[in-house]
Amino acid sequence: MLKRSLLKTEILVGLVIVILSMIIGIINPAYFTIANTFDLLRSGTEMGIFALGVLIVIISGGIDVSFTAIAVVSMYVTTKMMLWMNYQGPVILMFLIGALIGIVLGLFNAAFISGSKWLARIVTFLAIAIIVGYLIMQILLALNIPLLAVALYSISGVLGLIPAFFVARMVHGFRLPTLIVTLGTQSLYRGFTLFFIGPYHIIDRDMPPGMKEYFNNYIVSIKTSEGTTSLHSAIFIFIFLAILVYILLKYTMLGRGIYALGGAPEAAERAGFNITAIQIFIYAFVGFLAGVNGIVHTGLIQIANPQTIVGTELFVIAAVVLGGASITGGRGSVIGTILGVALVIIMNNSLILMGVSSTYQRVVVGLIIIIGTGVPAYQALRSERRLKVISGE
């Protein structure tokens, strides 16, 4: 039954895509050109990688809106770091650092969500050490005691560590609502990047050489009448990750644990799943995907602007829900998600092709989200009523 109903959403979304494509194609034949296809695939790569992470979180019954901010941190901090180090090597290092940043920030989210004792203690310890240390430093500065900078920092640092140690020992883990936590960390990550690292974008010619090379890492380039159009290799990253997530969800106990957690958290715990570990994995993995995607974004857009990306998270969530994932958890598939992303991307990118003025773009996107989430919601309501009638009590 699970298969059938999922299949139904998938087929439905697939049909909508086909019909929509035909309509757009009739209005403007440019839709079926290679250039446009490559364009859609490029947009799809970025949203798709995000969507894989969102899918996992939603199946587990949570929600994450901080992943775009994680991508911003990964993109901007990594690029800045490479420039500062004057790094001349290949782009792979940037991917590694981006992924690492993503994992660390994902773990930071998990510290507040998973109930993990140690993550919570580490975060508490660091937060108190930094805040208290900073306050002590300010007090010392205000007292105007002649102190060497080294002495100032070390005194403040050590004095900060002491209360941090004692308070952290009292912490036994946090289990906070996922939406609110990630709303908070989104703002925190983005604000941190913009204030402490910088608000200005880095344009293509200022990029590290490895990244500049990566800009042109195309699979194919085709000459058309309007110039060359190319497909970037980043799509392979997406395909690889999609297969990885598919296998993870379908064929590993961890993946089944994610479904179990989303379906009945208490039962999952009683069955012997380590819920805390699963949640740590989920949020770290979302962070990892977002971190990688930060670098992919730089490669595709050829610019590192820390003021973009954040704000698109809700479209990604909408795409995943459109693809049949249940926002209450326990349900969702990789194939559905890919179709959902495809639908949103086609709608989003084809407005101009259809001759709709760009000022109407948000109106149309809003309508897509409302209709796309409304139809399955209304169907669920009706089938719930039907089920009640059939099953009796």
Binding site: L2, K3, K250, T252, E266, G272, G330, R331, S391, G392
Partner: protein, 496 residues
């Protein structure tokens, strides 16, 4: 004599000063069906949780075939073959039957990857063991309660269970399903698997049990051979005092019926239902689970859509299309599932009582008159004898019986003409049960019309003056309760 499987010795457990378990011992032999009986709050659940390793006892020890444990960890309990089937079954509604059965097994084997073919094989074997057939590819949420339970049992068996603890397993089962559950339990017994059957349904205990232990206030009252007990004795041990159930005598109060239902039909649920309810009557509607009795009640309350037929109240034809209509026409409904449909657990007792009657306590400018509200709430707390130090406390601090009184108070406050009670004493302990029956009888004597939906035969016979029997969506029979015995009614209920 069979070998001892589990021996719990002198276990105590205290929660913040309250003794939940006080020096309790129990011995379960291999292949024994042991019943654990007690009212809510008697310590049954705590004892189960100690045996399954969820709670660490303050004192005493647990011996499982010679191995002594001061503190049993959940995983050790599982390894020792102790399996608990909780009331909610701990199943995953979004996963298939096969996966639900095999998942724990796979986990216990510490598998990292999933072999779907193996899952199906394992699940099939497990279901065959208890000789039931359930489609392996159906999602759990689409199964009936009884099937869910069978899935939970077969899952437990997969883990080499030696003792299966069932916590109130029959609450949501029909009589026939209970019978088949019992045959599964006796089959397990033949294989040497013990069952600890926790219940407060006396007839079931008397039927299935080999030994019975009664608990009260965290203490063991008695643990003896099943043959030592009868229904009265069990009640006596559970409550500490004798309870007499007086049956209800209906005296005619009026010629016009309070509620008249004529040829009411709701497609696929019930058809052509006709009956009358007189003021002062307590009418029982019974039938097996799935016979349409709950749908009928819900239709009268405006939840279930009606396809045909008419309703009249006090002789006036009425249309009830939603709950607001029903409430406006003076119909109240106490749902079967108290926790999810009847109560706001986190909210105060007072607000729970007042929620239906807020419009009666408004002052002239449309705001709530807090003095009126307070006296209103206090009156009902007193009338129904709800035991609480303050009505500002959350409802979840109350016991099951007192919670049910809150639900009753909520409706009584709105002075309904017709009160429909669906399973009014499900999950309520025996002491409270007879008090609730008393309240219901008093209400009827004051002229209210009461409909009780239930399959608790003693309850029906003691509380109602007339009983209607439903089968497969149709009204098939009617009895005066003084003219029929428990056994006769039970036979009528289950015959094809």
């Amino acid at each position: 004599m069979a070998e001892e499987l589990l021996k719990v010795q002198n276990i105590s457990k205290t929660f913040g000063g309250v003794k939940a378990l006080d020096d309790v011992s129990i011995t379960i032999d291999q292949g024994e069906i042991h019943c654990l009986v007690g009212e809510n709050g008697s310590g049954k659940s705590t004892l189960i949780k100690v045996i399954s390793g969820v709670y660490e006892p303050d004192g005493g020890e647990i011996i499982i075939i010679g191995t002594h444990y001061k503190r049993l960890h959940p995983i050790e309990a599982i390894h020792e073959g102790i399996q608990v089937i909780y009331q909610d079954f701990s199943l995953f509604p979004n996963l298939t039957v096969a996966e639900n059965i095999a998942l724990n097994y796979q986990l216990a084997k510490n598998k990292q990857f999933v072999n779907w073919r193996e899952i199906r094989q394992v699940a099939k074997i497990a279901l065959d063991k208890i000789k039931v057939h359930i489609n392996l590819d159906v999602r759990i949420e689409q199964l009936s309660v009884a099937d869910k339970q069978l899935v939970a049992i077969s899952r437990a068996l997969l883990q080499n269970a030696r003792l299966i603890i069932m916590d109130e397993p029959t609450t949501a089962l029909t009589n026939r399903e209970v019978k088949s559950l019992f045959s599964v339990i006796t089959n397990l017994q033949k294989d040497g698997i013990s069952t600890l059957f926790v219940s407060h349904k006396l007839n079931e205990i008397l039927e299935i049990s080999q030994r019975t232990m009664v608990m009260r206030n965290g203490k063991k009252v008695i643990d003896a051979d099943a043959s030592e007990f009868n229904s009265d004795k069990l009640v006596y041990y559970m409550t500490g005092h004798q309870i007499e159930d007086v049956s209800y005598k209906y005296s005619k109060k009026s010629e016009t019926s309070l509620l008249k239902v004529k040829e009411l039909t709701s497609g696929g649920n019930f058809e052509q239902i006709s009956f009358e309810l007189m003021p002062g009557e307590i009418l029982g509607i019974t039938g097996l689970l799935g016979c349409g009795r709950t749908e009928l009640a819900l239709a009268l309350f405006g939840v279930q859509p009606i396809d045909g037929g008419t309703l009249s109240i006090n002789g006036q034809p009425v249309k009830i299309e939603n709950i607001q209509d029903a409430v406006n026409h003076g119909i109240g409904y106490v749902p079967e599932d108290r926790i999810t449909e009847g109560l706001f657990l986190e909210q105060s007792i007072g607000r729970n009582i007042a929620v239906c009657t807020l419009r009666d306590i408004l002052n002239t400018i449309g705001f709530i008159d807090n003095n009126k509200l307070d006296s209103h709430i206090n009156r009902w707390v007193k009338n129904l004898n709800i035991k609480t130090p303050s009505h500002e406390l959350a409802v979840k601090t109350l016991s099951g019986g007192n919670q049910q009184r809150v639900v009753l108070a909520k409706w009584l406050a709105s002075a309904p003409k017709v009160l429909i009670l669906n399973g009014p004493t499900v999950g309520v302990d025996i002491g409270s049960k007879s008090e609730l029956h008393e309240i219901i009888r008093n209400l009827a004597e004051e002229g209210m019309g009461v409909i009780i939906i239930s399959d608790d035969i003693p309850e029906l016979l003691h509380t109602c003056n007339r009983i209607l029997l439903m089968k497969k969506g149709r009204m098939v029979d009617e009895f005066q309760s003084e003219e029929i015995t428990e056994n006769e009614l039970a036979a009528k209920l289950t015959e094809e």
